[in-house]
Symmetry: C2
Subunit: 269 residues, 2 copies
Amino acid sequence: MLDNKENAIGVFDSGLGGLTAVKELMRQLPYEKIVYFGDTARVPYGTKSKEAIVRFSMENVLFLIKNKVKMVVIACNTSSSLALPLLKQSFRIPIIGVIEPGVKKAVRVTKNKKIGVIATSATINSEAYAKGIKKLNHSIRVASQACPLFVPLAEEGWFNNDVTFSVAREYLKPIVASRADTVILGCTHYPLLRSVIQKVLGNKVTLVDSAKEVASEVKKLLKETGLENNRRHSPKHLFWVSDQPKHFRKLAKRFLGYDIRNVKRSSDV
Amino acid sequence: MLDNKENAIGVFDSGLGGLTAVKELMRQLPYEKIVYFGDTARVPYGTKSKEAIVRFSMENVLFLIKNKVKMVVIACNTSSSLALPLLKQSFRIPIIGVIEPGVKKAVRVTKNKKIGVIATSATINSEAYAKGIKKLNHSIRVASQACPLFVPLAEEGWFNNDVTFSVAREYLKPIVASRADTVILGCTHYPLLRSVIQKVLGNKVTLVDSAKEVASEVKKLLKETGLENNRRHSPKHLFWVSDQPKHFRKLAKRFLGYDIRNVKRSSDV
Protein backbone atom coordinates (compact mmCIF):
# COMPACT_ATOMS: atom_id res chain seq x y z
CA MET A 1 0.00 0.00 0.00
CA LEU A 2 2.80 2.41 0.91
CA ASP A 3 4.22 2.35 -2.59
CA ASN A 4 0.94 3.27 -4.23
CA LYS A 5 1.80 6.22 -6.44
CA GLU A 6 -1.69 7.62 -6.26
CA ASN A 7 -1.62 7.86 -2.48
CA ALA A 8 -1.30 11.29 -0.99
CA ILE A 9 1.69 13.13 0.42
CA GLY A 10 1.12 13.47 4.17
CA VAL A 11 2.07 16.78 5.77
CA PHE A 12 1.87 17.55 9.47
CA ASP A 13 2.47 20.61 11.57
CA SER A 14 1.79 21.67 15.16
CA GLY A 15 -0.95 23.93 13.80
CA LEU A 16 -1.51 25.80 10.61
CA GLY A 17 1.93 27.23 9.88
CA GLY A 18 2.67 24.13 7.79
CA LEU A 19 0.35 25.46 5.14
CA THR A 20 3.35 27.50 3.91
CA ALA A 21 4.87 24.18 2.85
CA VAL A 22 1.55 22.98 1.43
CA LYS A 23 1.25 26.06 -0.75
CA GLU A 24 4.66 25.42 -2.25
CA LEU A 25 3.98 21.68 -2.67
CA MET A 26 0.79 22.51 -4.57
CA ARG A 27 2.68 24.89 -6.81
CA GLN A 28 5.56 22.54 -7.58
CA LEU A 29 3.58 19.28 -7.61
CA PRO A 30 0.12 20.19 -8.92
CA TYR A 31 -1.01 16.58 -9.44
CA GLU A 32 -0.08 15.24 -6.02
CA LYS A 33 -2.85 14.87 -3.48
CA ILE A 34 -2.06 16.25 -0.01
CA VAL A 35 -3.40 15.05 3.33
CA TYR A 36 -2.60 17.64 5.97
CA PHE A 37 -2.76 17.22 9.73
CA GLY A 38 -2.56 20.26 12.03
CA ASP A 39 -2.33 19.47 15.75
CA THR A 40 -4.35 22.54 16.71
CA ALA A 41 -5.47 21.06 20.04
CA ARG A 42 -1.90 20.82 21.33
CA VAL A 43 -0.29 23.75 19.51
CA PRO A 44 2.29 25.24 20.10
CA TYR A 45 5.15 22.71 20.15
CA GLY A 46 7.97 25.26 20.29
CA THR A 47 7.76 25.91 24.02
CA LYS A 48 7.41 22.24 25.02
CA SER A 49 9.89 19.47 25.88
CA LYS A 50 11.60 17.11 23.46
CA GLU A 51 9.75 14.22 25.07
CA ALA A 52 6.34 15.78 24.38
CA ILE A 53 7.30 16.84 20.85
CA VAL A 54 8.51 13.32 19.97
CA ARG A 55 5.35 11.74 21.39
CA PHE A 56 3.06 14.12 19.49
CA SER A 57 5.04 13.69 16.25
CA MET A 58 4.83 9.87 16.49
CA GLU A 59 1.07 10.10 16.87
CA ASN A 60 0.81 12.48 13.92
CA VAL A 61 2.78 10.16 11.62
CA LEU A 62 0.59 7.22 12.68
CA PHE A 63 -2.51 9.25 11.88
CA LEU A 64 -1.19 10.07 8.39
CA ILE A 65 -0.18 6.45 7.73
CA LYS A 66 -3.70 5.35 8.67
CA ASN A 67 -4.88 7.84 6.06
CA LYS A 68 -2.83 6.04 3.40
CA VAL A 69 -0.06 8.46 2.56
CA LYS A 70 2.99 7.44 0.53
CA MET A 71 5.40 9.75 2.35
CA VAL A 72 5.41 12.21 5.25
CA VAL A 73 6.58 15.83 5.24
CA ILE A 74 7.18 17.35 8.67
CA ALA A 75 6.36 20.98 7.99
CA CYS A 76 6.98 21.95 11.62
CA ASN A 77 10.52 23.15 12.34
CA THR A 78 10.32 22.21 16.03
CA SER A 79 9.20 18.69 15.22
CA SER A 80 11.80 18.35 12.43
CA SER A 81 14.54 19.49 14.83
CA LEU A 82 13.67 17.14 17.66
CA ALA A 83 11.75 14.16 16.32
CA LEU A 84 12.99 13.44 12.76
CA PRO A 85 15.78 10.96 13.60
CA LEU A 86 13.50 8.84 15.81
CA LEU A 87 10.64 8.98 13.30
CA LYS A 88 12.95 7.81 10.52
CA GLN A 89 14.14 4.94 12.71
CA SER A 90 10.59 3.95 13.60
CA PHE A 91 8.69 4.04 10.32
CA ARG A 92 9.35 2.47 6.91
CA ILE A 93 7.64 5.25 4.98
CA PRO A 94 9.92 8.05 3.65
CA ILE A 95 9.90 11.00 6.07
CA ILE A 96 11.34 14.40 5.29
CA GLY A 97 11.82 17.43 7.56
CA VAL A 98 12.28 21.13 6.84
CA ILE A 99 15.68 21.66 8.51
CA GLU A 100 17.93 20.15 5.82
CA PRO A 101 16.25 21.93 2.88
CA GLY A 102 16.53 25.25 4.75
CA VAL A 103 20.16 24.59 5.66
CA LYS A 104 21.12 23.69 2.07
CA LYS A 105 19.54 26.84 0.68
CA ALA A 106 21.17 29.10 3.29
CA VAL A 107 24.62 27.58 2.77
CA ARG A 108 24.20 28.04 -0.99
CA VAL A 109 23.12 31.67 -0.63
CA THR A 110 25.51 33.12 1.98
CA LYS A 111 28.45 35.07 0.65
CA ASN A 112 30.10 36.25 3.86
CA LYS A 113 29.76 32.80 5.49
CA LYS A 114 27.63 34.15 8.30
CA ILE A 115 24.16 32.70 8.74
CA GLY A 116 21.51 33.72 11.26
CA VAL A 117 18.83 31.35 12.52
CA ILE A 118 15.62 32.47 14.22
CA ALA A 119 13.14 29.88 15.51
CA THR A 120 11.21 28.66 18.56
CA SER A 121 13.01 27.97 21.85
CA ALA A 122 12.80 24.20 21.33
CA THR A 123 14.30 24.43 17.82
CA ILE A 124 17.12 26.75 18.90
CA ASN A 125 17.92 24.64 21.97
CA SER A 126 18.11 21.52 19.78
CA GLU A 127 20.87 23.19 17.73
CA ALA A 128 19.55 21.29 14.70
CA TYR A 129 20.14 24.21 12.32
CA ALA A 130 23.59 25.12 13.65
CA LYS A 131 24.74 21.49 13.46
CA GLY A 132 23.26 21.05 9.98
CA ILE A 133 25.09 24.14 8.71
CA LYS A 134 28.39 23.15 10.32
CA LYS A 135 28.06 19.68 8.78
CA LEU A 136 27.89 21.17 5.28
CA ASN A 137 30.51 23.84 5.84
CA HIS A 138 32.44 23.99 9.07
CA SER A 139 33.81 27.47 8.41
CA ILE A 140 30.39 29.15 8.43
CA ARG A 141 29.57 31.11 11.57
CA VAL A 142 26.05 30.73 12.94
CA ALA A 143 24.12 33.17 15.16
CA SER A 144 20.94 31.71 16.67
CA GLN A 145 18.07 33.41 18.45
CA ALA A 146 14.79 32.08 19.87
CA CYS A 147 11.83 34.43 19.26
CA PRO A 148 8.95 32.99 21.35
CA LEU A 149 6.68 36.02 20.86
CA PHE A 150 6.73 35.86 17.04
CA VAL A 151 4.17 33.02 16.88
CA PRO A 152 1.54 34.70 19.08
CA LEU A 153 2.15 38.03 17.27
CA ALA A 154 1.56 36.35 13.91
CA GLU A 155 -1.54 34.57 15.22
CA GLU A 156 -2.87 37.87 16.58
CA GLY A 157 -2.48 39.24 13.04
CA TRP A 158 -0.09 42.01 14.14
CA PHE A 159 2.07 41.62 11.03
CA ASN A 160 3.13 45.17 10.65
CA ASN A 161 2.49 47.23 13.77
CA ASP A 162 4.75 49.11 16.18
CA VAL A 163 4.70 46.42 18.85
CA THR A 164 5.89 43.79 16.39
CA PHE A 165 8.69 46.15 15.33
CA SER A 166 9.80 46.66 18.94
CA VAL A 167 9.75 42.91 19.60
CA ALA A 168 11.68 42.20 16.39
CA ARG A 169 14.27 44.89 17.17
CA GLU A 170 14.81 43.34 20.60
CA TYR A 171 15.05 39.70 19.43
CA LEU A 172 17.11 40.40 16.33
CA LYS A 173 19.90 42.35 18.10
CA PRO A 174 22.34 39.39 18.17
CA ILE A 175 21.50 38.52 14.56
CA VAL A 176 22.18 42.09 13.43
CA ALA A 177 25.40 42.11 15.50
CA SER A 178 26.54 38.86 13.85
CA ARG A 179 26.44 40.58 10.43
CA ALA A 180 24.86 37.50 8.87
CA ASP A 181 23.96 38.08 5.21
CA THR A 182 21.49 35.17 5.24
CA VAL A 183 18.87 34.45 7.88
CA ILE A 184 16.80 31.27 8.13
CA LEU A 185 13.15 31.74 9.13
CA GLY A 186 13.16 28.56 11.19
CA CYS A 187 9.47 28.52 12.11
CA THR A 188 6.51 28.26 9.74
CA HIS A 189 4.85 31.31 11.29
CA TYR A 190 7.73 33.68 10.70
CA PRO A 191 7.11 34.30 6.97
CA LEU A 192 3.95 36.12 8.08
CA LEU A 193 6.23 38.66 9.82
CA ARG A 194 8.64 38.74 6.87
CA SER A 195 8.28 42.46 6.12
CA VAL A 196 9.03 43.50 9.73
CA ILE A 197 11.96 41.09 9.98
CA GLN A 198 13.35 42.31 6.66
CA LYS A 199 13.10 45.95 7.74
CA VAL A 200 14.90 45.32 11.02
CA LEU A 201 17.66 43.26 9.36
CA GLY A 202 17.99 45.52 6.33
CA ASN A 203 17.39 44.85 2.64
CA LYS A 204 20.77 43.25 2.00
CA VAL A 205 19.95 40.24 4.13
CA THR A 206 18.46 37.23 2.33
CA LEU A 207 15.64 35.51 4.22
CA VAL A 208 15.33 31.74 3.74
CA ASP A 209 11.93 30.15 4.36
CA SER A 210 12.63 26.51 5.28
CA ALA A 211 9.08 25.31 4.71
CA LYS A 212 9.19 26.70 1.22
CA GLU A 213 12.45 24.92 0.45
CA VAL A 214 11.09 21.51 1.38
CA ALA A 215 8.92 21.21 -1.75
CA SER A 216 11.83 20.76 -4.14
CA GLU A 217 13.29 18.06 -1.86
CA VAL A 218 9.94 16.28 -1.92
CA LYS A 219 9.90 16.46 -5.70
CA LYS A 220 13.38 14.93 -5.83
CA LEU A 221 12.51 12.20 -3.35
CA LEU A 222 9.37 11.25 -5.28
CA LYS A 223 11.45 10.85 -8.44
CA GLU A 224 14.18 8.85 -6.68
CA THR A 225 11.71 6.46 -5.08
CA GLY A 226 9.50 6.18 -8.16
CA LEU A 227 6.53 7.42 -6.12
CA GLU A 228 5.47 10.26 -8.45
CA ASN A 229 1.83 10.30 -9.34
CA ASN A 230 1.54 9.97 -13.12
CA ARG A 231 -2.14 10.73 -13.33
CA ARG A 232 -2.79 14.25 -14.54
CA HIS A 233 -5.93 14.88 -12.51
CA SER A 234 -6.53 17.79 -10.17
CA PRO A 235 -6.25 16.22 -6.73
CA LYS A 236 -8.72 16.69 -3.88
CA HIS A 237 -6.70 17.69 -0.86
CA LEU A 238 -7.77 16.86 2.67
CA PHE A 239 -7.16 18.87 5.83
CA TRP A 240 -7.41 17.38 9.31
CA VAL A 241 -7.08 19.17 12.65
CA SER A 242 -7.23 18.02 16.28
CA ASP A 243 -9.28 21.02 17.46
CA GLN A 244 -12.36 22.50 15.78
CA PRO A 245 -11.99 23.24 12.05
CA LYS A 246 -13.63 26.67 12.19
CA HIS A 247 -10.70 28.67 13.54
CA PHE A 248 -8.26 26.78 11.30
CA ARG A 249 -10.33 27.50 8.20
CA LYS A 250 -10.40 31.20 9.05
CA LEU A 251 -6.65 31.55 9.57
CA ALA A 252 -5.73 29.19 6.71
CA LYS A 253 -6.57 31.94 4.25
CA ARG A 254 -3.65 34.01 5.57
CA PHE A 255 -1.27 31.22 4.64
CA LEU A 256 -2.75 29.86 1.43
CA GLY A 257 -4.28 33.04 0.06
CA TYR A 258 -7.64 31.36 -0.56
CA ASP A 259 -10.41 29.58 1.31
CA ILE A 260 -10.36 25.85 1.99
CA ARG A 261 -13.44 23.79 2.73
CA ASN A 262 -12.27 20.22 3.26
CA VAL A 263 -11.33 20.61 6.94
CA LYS A 264 -12.30 17.85 9.37
CA ARG A 265 -11.64 17.24 13.02
CA SER A 266 -9.76 14.08 13.95
CA SER A 267 -10.59 12.47 17.28
CA ASP A 268 -7.52 10.22 17.00
CA VAL A 269 -5.01 12.58 18.51
CA MET B 1 -13.50 7.81 49.81
CA LEU B 2 -14.58 11.17 48.46
CA ASP B 3 -15.69 12.38 51.87
CA ASN B 4 -12.37 11.59 53.48
CA LYS B 5 -11.40 14.82 55.23
CA GLU B 6 -7.71 14.03 54.99
CA ASN B 7 -7.80 13.74 51.24
CA ALA B 8 -6.27 16.58 49.27
CA ILE B 9 -7.82 19.52 47.51
CA GLY B 10 -7.33 18.98 43.78
CA VAL B 11 -6.40 22.01 41.70
CA PHE B 12 -5.97 22.04 37.94
CA ASP B 13 -4.90 24.61 35.40
CA SER B 14 -3.91 24.62 31.73
CA GLY B 15 -0.34 25.20 32.87
CA LEU B 16 1.30 26.87 35.80
CA GLY B 17 -0.78 30.03 36.18
CA GLY B 18 -3.00 28.17 38.64
CA LEU B 19 -0.20 28.36 41.18
CA THR B 20 -1.55 31.84 42.00
CA ALA B 21 -4.58 30.06 43.44
CA VAL B 22 -2.39 27.47 45.14
CA LYS B 23 -0.37 30.16 46.89
CA GLU B 24 -3.52 31.68 48.34
CA LEU B 25 -4.95 28.27 49.30
CA MET B 26 -1.74 27.49 51.18
CA ARG B 27 -1.96 30.81 52.99
CA GLN B 28 -5.60 30.52 53.98
CA LEU B 29 -5.70 26.74 54.53
CA PRO B 30 -2.25 25.78 55.83
CA TYR B 31 -3.24 22.27 56.90
CA GLU B 32 -4.91 21.20 53.67
CA LYS B 33 -2.91 19.03 51.30
CA ILE B 34 -2.97 20.12 47.65
CA VAL B 35 -2.65 17.94 44.56
CA TYR B 36 -2.02 20.16 41.55
CA PHE B 37 -2.29 19.22 37.91
CA GLY B 38 -0.90 21.53 35.18
CA ASP B 39 -1.68 20.49 31.61
CA THR B 40 1.65 21.79 30.31
CA ALA B 41 1.64 19.50 27.26
CA ARG B 42 -1.55 21.07 25.89
CA VAL B 43 -1.22 24.62 27.22
CA PRO B 44 -2.62 27.16 26.32
CA TYR B 45 -6.39 26.62 26.53
CA GLY B 46 -7.38 30.25 25.92
CA THR B 47 -6.99 30.16 22.15
CA LYS B 48 -8.74 26.79 21.66
CA SER B 49 -12.34 25.73 21.09
CA LYS B 50 -14.97 25.05 23.75
CA GLU B 51 -15.05 21.44 22.63
CA ALA B 52 -11.32 20.97 23.24
CA ILE B 53 -11.40 22.85 26.55
CA VAL B 54 -14.28 20.72 27.87
CA ARG B 55 -12.56 17.49 26.79
CA PHE B 56 -9.25 18.48 28.43
CA SER B 57 -11.02 19.63 31.63
CA MET B 58 -12.93 16.34 31.92
CA GLU B 59 -9.66 14.41 31.66
CA ASN B 60 -8.02 16.67 34.26
CA VAL B 61 -10.83 16.13 36.79
CA LEU B 62 -10.66 12.36 36.23
CA PHE B 63 -6.92 12.46 36.86
CA LEU B 64 -7.42 14.33 40.15
CA ILE B 65 -10.21 11.98 41.26
CA LYS B 66 -7.90 9.01 40.61
CA ASN B 67 -5.45 10.78 42.90
CA LYS B 68 -8.04 10.79 45.68
CA VAL B 69 -8.98 14.41 46.09
CA LYS B 70 -12.02 15.51 48.14
CA MET B 71 -12.86 18.49 45.93
CA VAL B 72 -11.65 20.12 42.72
CA VAL B 73 -10.67 23.75 42.17
CA ILE B 74 -10.50 24.86 38.54
CA ALA B 75 -7.80 27.52 38.75
CA CYS B 76 -7.95 28.17 35.00
CA ASN B 77 -10.30 30.98 33.98
CA THR B 78 -10.81 29.59 30.47
CA SER B 79 -11.74 26.17 31.79
CA SER B 80 -13.98 27.69 34.51
CA SER B 81 -15.76 29.80 31.88
CA LEU B 82 -16.44 26.99 29.43
CA ALA B 83 -16.39 23.66 31.25
CA LEU B 84 -17.67 24.23 34.82
CA PRO B 85 -21.38 23.58 34.22
CA LEU B 86 -20.73 20.30 32.42
CA LEU B 87 -18.15 19.19 34.98
CA LYS B 88 -20.60 19.85 37.82
CA GLN B 89 -23.25 17.82 36.01
CA SER B 90 -20.85 14.95 35.39
CA PHE B 91 -19.05 14.44 38.69
CA ARG B 92 -20.32 13.97 42.26
CA ILE B 93 -17.28 15.60 43.86
CA PRO B 94 -17.62 19.33 44.71
CA ILE B 95 -16.10 21.44 41.91
CA ILE B 96 -15.44 25.15 42.15
CA GLY B 97 -14.28 27.60 39.46
CA VAL B 98 -12.64 31.01 39.63
CA ILE B 99 -15.29 33.07 37.79
CA GLU B 100 -17.87 33.40 40.57
CA PRO B 101 -15.36 34.37 43.28
CA GLY B 102 -13.87 37.02 40.97
CA VAL B 103 -17.32 38.33 40.03
CA LYS B 104 -18.46 38.59 43.66
CA LYS B 105 -15.36 40.51 44.66
CA ALA B 106 -15.61 42.94 41.72
CA VAL B 107 -19.32 43.61 42.30
CA ARG B 108 -18.56 44.29 45.98
CA VAL B 109 -15.70 46.65 45.16
CA THR B 110 -17.02 48.80 42.29
CA LYS B 111 -18.38 52.20 43.22
CA ASN B 112 -19.28 53.62 39.81
CA LYS B 113 -20.93 50.35 38.69
CA LYS B 114 -18.52 49.94 35.81
CA ILE B 115 -16.42 46.79 35.69
CA GLY B 116 -13.75 45.87 33.16
CA VAL B 117 -12.83 42.25 32.34
CA ILE B 118 -9.61 41.21 30.63
CA ALA B 119 -8.99 37.55 29.79
CA THR B 120 -8.16 35.06 27.03
CA SER B 121 -10.19 35.02 23.80
CA ALA B 122 -12.05 31.85 24.85
CA THR B 123 -13.02 33.33 28.24
CA ILE B 124 -14.16 36.65 26.74
CA ASN B 125 -16.12 34.92 23.97
CA SER B 126 -17.88 32.73 26.55
CA GLU B 127 -19.21 35.90 28.26
CA ALA B 128 -19.00 34.02 31.56
CA TYR B 129 -17.80 37.08 33.48
CA ALA B 130 -20.26 39.54 31.91
CA LYS B 131 -23.18 37.17 32.55
CA GLY B 132 -22.03 36.47 36.12
CA ILE B 133 -21.84 40.20 36.90
CA LYS B 134 -25.22 40.96 35.31
CA LYS B 135 -26.77 38.12 37.33
CA LEU B 136 -25.65 39.74 40.58
CA ASN B 137 -26.43 43.29 39.56
CA HIS B 138 -28.11 44.02 36.28
CA SER B 139 -27.32 47.75 36.39
CA ILE B 140 -23.55 47.28 36.28
CA ARG B 141 -21.92 48.02 32.92
CA VAL B 142 -19.25 45.61 31.74
CA ALA B 143 -16.40 46.28 29.28
CA SER B 144 -14.58 43.14 28.11
CA GLN B 145 -11.32 42.73 26.22
CA ALA B 146 -9.37 39.66 25.12
CA CYS B 147 -5.59 40.09 25.51
CA PRO B 148 -4.04 37.05 23.74
CA LEU B 149 -0.46 38.38 23.91
CA PHE B 150 -0.44 38.80 27.70
CA VAL B 151 0.18 35.09 28.35
CA PRO B 152 3.21 34.75 26.04
CA LEU B 153 4.58 38.08 27.35
CA ALA B 154 4.31 36.82 30.92
CA GLU B 155 5.88 33.48 30.00
CA GLU B 156 8.72 35.32 28.25
CA GLY B 157 9.30 37.15 31.55
CA TRP B 158 8.76 40.61 30.00
CA PHE B 159 6.87 41.86 33.04
CA ASN B 160 7.91 45.45 32.88
CA ASN B 161 9.42 46.37 29.53
CA ASP B 162 8.45 48.82 26.79
CA VAL B 163 6.92 46.20 24.52
CA THR B 164 4.60 45.02 27.28
CA PHE B 165 3.57 48.63 27.90
CA SER B 166 2.76 49.15 24.21
CA VAL B 167 0.75 45.94 24.08
CA ALA B 168 -1.12 46.83 27.28
CA ARG B 169 -1.87 50.35 26.05
CA GLU B 170 -3.30 48.89 22.83
CA TYR B 171 -5.43 46.18 24.49
CA LEU B 172 -6.65 48.30 27.38
CA LYS B 173 -8.00 51.18 25.26
CA PRO B 174 -11.66 50.06 25.50
CA ILE B 175 -11.26 49.37 29.23
CA VAL B 176 -9.86 52.85 29.83
CA ALA B 177 -12.63 54.33 27.66
CA SER B 178 -15.28 52.49 29.69
CA ARG B 179 -14.12 54.33 32.84
CA ALA B 180 -14.40 51.13 34.88
CA ASP B 181 -13.18 51.63 38.47
CA THR B 182 -12.68 47.87 38.92
CA VAL B 183 -10.97 45.47 36.50
CA ILE B 184 -10.99 41.69 36.78
CA LEU B 185 -7.71 39.96 35.87
CA GLY B 186 -9.53 37.04 34.27
CA CYS B 187 -6.51 34.87 33.51
CA THR B 188 -4.05 33.39 35.99
CA HIS B 189 -1.07 34.80 34.10
CA TYR B 190 -2.18 38.41 34.24
CA PRO B 191 -1.16 39.09 37.87
CA LEU B 192 2.44 38.74 36.64
CA LEU B 193 1.82 41.85 34.49
CA ARG B 194 -0.02 43.64 37.30
CA SER B 195 2.32 46.61 37.53
CA VAL B 196 2.11 47.38 33.79
CA ILE B 197 -1.68 46.94 33.76
CA GLN B 198 -2.03 49.16 36.84
CA LYS B 199 0.11 51.89 35.28
CA VAL B 200 -1.89 51.90 32.04
CA LEU B 201 -5.25 51.92 33.86
CA GLY B 202 -4.16 54.40 36.54
CA ASN B 203 -3.87 54.02 40.30
CA LYS B 204 -7.53 54.62 41.04
CA VAL B 205 -8.59 51.39 39.37
CA THR B 206 -8.89 48.31 41.63
CA LEU B 207 -7.55 45.10 40.11
CA VAL B 208 -9.30 41.88 41.11
CA ASP B 209 -7.35 38.64 40.86
CA SER B 210 -9.94 35.88 40.42
CA ALA B 211 -7.61 33.03 41.28
CA LYS B 212 -6.77 34.72 44.54
CA GLU B 213 -10.44 35.12 45.43
CA VAL B 214 -11.20 31.44 45.03
CA ALA B 215 -9.40 30.44 48.26
CA SER B 216 -11.99 31.98 50.56
CA GLU B 217 -14.77 30.23 48.62
CA VAL B 218 -12.93 26.94 49.06
CA LYS B 219 -12.64 27.60 52.79
CA LYS B 220 -16.37 28.25 53.01
CA LEU B 221 -17.24 25.17 50.96
CA LEU B 222 -15.04 22.94 53.12
CA LYS B 223 -16.87 24.17 56.22
CA GLU B 224 -20.32 23.77 54.67
CA THR B 225 -19.61 20.23 53.49
CA GLY B 226 -17.77 19.20 56.66
CA LEU B 227 -14.71 18.32 54.60
CA GLU B 228 -12.17 20.43 56.54
CA ASN B 229 -9.06 18.58 57.56
CA ASN B 230 -8.83 18.69 61.35
CA ARG B 231 -5.30 17.33 61.60
CA ARG B 232 -2.82 20.08 62.30
CA HIS B 233 0.09 18.62 60.35
CA SER B 234 2.08 20.37 57.64
CA PRO B 235 0.84 18.74 54.46
CA LYS B 236 3.03 17.38 51.67
CA HIS B 237 1.74 18.91 48.46
CA LEU B 238 2.03 17.13 45.12
CA PHE B 239 2.47 18.71 41.69
CA TRP B 240 1.71 16.86 38.46
CA VAL B 241 2.27 18.08 34.91
CA SER B 242 1.62 16.55 31.49
CA ASP B 243 4.92 17.76 30.00
CA GLN B 244 8.36 17.54 31.57
CA PRO B 245 8.65 18.86 35.14
CA LYS B 246 11.88 20.81 34.58
CA HIS B 247 10.43 23.88 32.86
CA PHE B 248 7.46 23.93 35.23
CA ARG B 249 9.72 23.82 38.26
CA LYS B 250 11.75 26.74 36.93
CA LEU B 251 8.77 28.98 36.21
CA ALA B 252 6.84 27.93 39.33
CA LYS B 253 9.13 30.08 41.42
CA ARG B 254 7.76 33.20 39.71
CA PHE B 255 4.29 32.31 40.90
CA LEU B 256 4.94 30.83 44.34
CA GLY B 257 8.00 32.82 45.30
CA TYR B 258 9.92 29.67 46.31
CA ASP B 259 11.21 26.43 44.81
CA ILE B 260 9.12 23.29 44.65
CA ARG B 261 10.55 19.81 44.32
CA ASN B 262 7.61 17.40 44.24
CA VAL B 263 6.87 17.73 40.50
CA LYS B 264 6.08 14.59 38.52
CA ARG B 265 5.03 13.94 34.96
CA SER B 266 1.71 12.22 34.40
CA SER B 267 1.37 9.98 31.36
CA ASP B 268 -2.40 9.80 31.81
CA VAL B 269 -3.28 12.92 29.89
